[in-house]
């Protein structure tokens, strides 16, 4: 099916939903690189007009990535909840934006609609939204998850403590963990990216973190962000696995380039759940969200796995939203976009990173995901700390579940800049937000006091 809109006597036509979505996307370098971006500002806004008039129901009949070629599309189509979709079935994309921003769109209604949306619908409406729209709509949505802490409650902001070390030194990692815990980070997860992908290192780091947790009775969950098969091997060797991590993307081919598919993720999910390591959380529920996913616009393109209908490229923001369809199938504890990590050929500067971060947060939340964000950049992007402060603050206003806590915002293993323990403290202070309730209670109790005291001799804490 083709779509058209006329501006000043010039008729713009778009041959497919895939093309319409790509042309309607606000400018970003990755879509230009893929050769699918609008060729002028006028063409872009024409596409947005055409998209605004498109009925949401159309998304159920035209797929941007063919059903027969791609298991992510099959997951989206086969698990679509028609009952949840029914209330908005007659809406156009433009009418969905108007409704989302209206007073009719309450927390309860938004939560109920989530399973009725496909990622392409959500991506489409985000393309018509300004930054303040992405914030205003996302701020109404709450997605709460539990393991040993409860993350995503109103008035709360959590942080993933990211204590990476260039050579996986357990003492070096523990030093960063101490620094972060004492500054109030870690209530989302203590998650280490290992420099190597070995089972032994993974198991060793998991044991070190678990020992520290038990010794000071810290309500946290830990994770070593090795490949999921490495974590499963560690699990099989009785390593104390709390959350299982994997990077995911929005096409079957991109997931293949990550060495995963839906069957493998299902297997990991079942293995992790069987451990039953979650605790009774503040509301009496037992924590049972055990997966942690990371995503990011451009990952499919960078794997040359961004092709859709007709063998043509799908825009990176739509593919990112499709990754959330993979994530939501597994009821994860945490999902975050790593928004500026991928580099300037996908998101060129602070402006593109900022919008992408807010789009991802909004799309993930509307699809029912516990969204966090790695607010970050690399040194070859046109961005700096001021850009990160801006995105960090806007995400706080939008109600982001968690951000990263990296010592001094400088990841010395992955060589990029994220947000710091101090950034999390800043955001909590200016917006009146508090840590996860279980973690907050711990910070006020004996465990934290003992940790602060014994931290004076960090080497003594490191005997595993």
């Amino acid at each position: 099916m083709s779509f058209a809109h006329t501006i000043a006597n010039r008729r713009y036509t778009f041959g497919s939903l895939r093309e319409l979505l790509a042309k309607a996307t606000p400018l970003r370098s990755g879509d230009v690189l893929a050769g699918i971006a609008a060729e002028s500002a006028e063409e872009r806004v024409a596409a947005q007009f055409a998209l605004a008039d498109l009925p949401l129901a159309h998304f159920l009949s035209e797929q941007v990535v063919p059903y027969e070629d791609d298991e992510v599309t099959r997951l989206i189509v086969d698990t679509h909840n028609a009952g949840a979709f029914a209330p908005v079935r007659s809406f156009t994309v433009g009418e969905l934006r108007d409704w989302l921003l209206s007073d009719e769109a309450t927390l309860e209604r938004l939560a109920a609609l989530g399973p009725g949306f496909t990622p392409e619908m959500v991506a489409a409406v985000s393309k018509l939204m300004r930054v303040q729209d992405l914030i205003a709509a996302a701020a109404k949505i709450r997605v709460v998850t539990r393991f040993r802490t409860t993350v995503g409650l109103p008035g709360r902001l959590s942080a993933r403590l990211q204590p990476n070390h260039p050579t996986d030194s357990p003492a070096g990692i523990a030093a960063s963990i101490l620094d972060g815990l004492l500054l109030g980070s870690g209530d989302a997860v203590i998650g280490v990216n290992p420099a190597g992908d070995g089972v032994e290192v993974t198991a060793q780091l998991l044991r070190m973190m678990d020992t520290l947790r038990e010794r000071f009775r810290i309500p946290v969950q830990s994770c070593v962000l090795a490949h999921i098969t490495t974590q499963m091997a560690a699990l099989a060797h009785d390593a104390p696995v709390d959350l299982l991590f994997q990077s995911i993307a929005g096409t079957e081919a991109a997931n293949r380039s990550f060495g995963v598919n839906l069957a493998l993720l299902t297997e990991a999910h079942e293995a992790g759940q069987a451990l039953k390591r979650g605790a009774v959380c503040v509301d009496g529920q037992i924590g049972s969200n055990i997966l942690y996913f990371e995503t990011g616009q451009g990952s499919a393109l960078s794997a040359n796995a961004h092709y859709g209908a007709g063998g043509l490229g799908v825009d990176q923001q739509t593919l990112e939203a499709r990754a959330y369809a993979v994530a939501r199938h597994f009821r994860p504890m945490l999902v975050n976009t790593v928004v500026g990590f991928i580099g300037p050929e996908y998101l060129y500067d602070g402006k593109q990173i900022l919008r992408a971060g807010l789009e991802d947060h909004f799309c993930g939340k509307l699809l029912g995901l516990p969204m966090g964000c790695d607010v970050c950049y690399t040194n070859h992007a046109e961005a700096d700390q001021d850009d990160m402060d801006t995105l960090l603050t806007l995400l706080g206003v939008a109600g982001v579940n968690y951000i990263m806590g990296v010592p001094g915002a400088d990841d010395v293993m992955l060589n990029y800049q994220s947000t710091s323990f101090h950034d999390a403290l800043y955001l909590r202070r200016v917006l009146g937000l508090r840590p996860a309730p279980e973690f907050e209670a711990w910070m006020e109790g004996d465990g934290f006091g003992r940790l602060a005291l014994e931290a004076r001799h960090p080497e003594r804490l490191l005997t595993v």
Partner: protein, 259 residues
């Protein structure tokens, strides 16, 4: 009484802890803190590191001067080439253009390279840090060239706005059996001048990363030029013996320990 006195930043999350934590990791632990914020000195230290990294990314390679220096070391002709990425902003957004030569450079190689079989092409590209190239390529070649006595070398090439894969096109045009691309790596906050070396058997457009071997982090605080040259010699010899590079060489030879 104004009630205003100087703020006294706390060193680290708990007083007295900063130095002990820092002894255990190069991460920015134990920062000075005022309220919830980082103290001025640590803030400026971060900004200094970012400034160095940014300057390294934006720096233009002084290609003519480098050609003179390297020409003196190699004792042969040096070709100065340019990728199809016309400037830095284009280079950063269009990796595809950084991977191929512009018309002038391709014509130059076609006309003057006298394509015949050679063992090795040495190619220098600015990549993401011209600083790395300016600091480490000449010392590395001083160490490396004496080890390559038995190798028939193609004329050396210096490429502006080049990415790793541009060595495939150059190596093919030069008729080289192996291409080595020395290239400035993406600057980290603590490493604005890190050089990488990529080794590719039978270079030709279309090669993928899995078909190359890499030595990274060549810089004063990382892998020294002496050690890098020794590692390069080992990889080059193994590549010639086994007639391949990449994952297969890594598995076959089991010799590519990370520096």
């Amino acid at each position: 009484m104004s009630g205003i006195t100087r703020a006294k930043p706390v060193a680290g999350p708990v007083a007295g802890l900063a130095a002990r934590l820092r002894a255990l990791t190069p991460a920015r632990v134990g920062l000075g803190r005022t309220g919830a914020s980082v103290a001025t000195r640590d803030l400026l230290d971060f900004q200094r590191c970012h400034a160095l990294a940014r300057d390294a990314v934006q720096a233009r390679l002084e290609s003519a001067a480098l050609a003179r220096t390297l020409g003196a070391i190699v004792g042969g002709s040096v070709f100065r080439l340019h990728s199809a990425a016309t400037d830095r902003a284009t280079y950063l957004q269009r990796p595809d253009l950084g991977r191929r030569l512009d018309e002038t450079s391709r014509t130059l190689l076609l006309e003057r390279a006298e394509s015949k079989s050679r063992d090795l092409a040495l190619i220098v590209a600015d990549g993401l840090s011209a600083l790395a190239v300016e600091r480490h390529v000449a010392p590395l070649f001083e160490e490396l060239l004496p080890k390559l006595a038995g190798w028939r070398l193609a004329p050396m090439c210096i490429v502006e706005q080049g990415r790793v894969a541009i060595g495939d096109e150059i190596g093919a045009l030069l008729g080289a059996q192996i291409a080595v691309v020395l290239i400035g790596e993406r600057p980290g906050l603590s490493s604005p001048d890190s050089l990488g070396a990529y080794i590719t058997w039978e270079p030709q457009p279309g090669r993928v990363d899995a078909e190359r071997n890499c030595i990274s982090n060549i810089r004063a605080e990382g892998l020294s030029c002496t050690r890098a040259a020794a590692q390069l010699e080992v990889i080059l010899s193994a590549a010639r013996r086994l007639q391949l590079t990449g994952v297969a060489l890594k598995n076959e030879a089991g010799l590519l320990q990370k520096g």
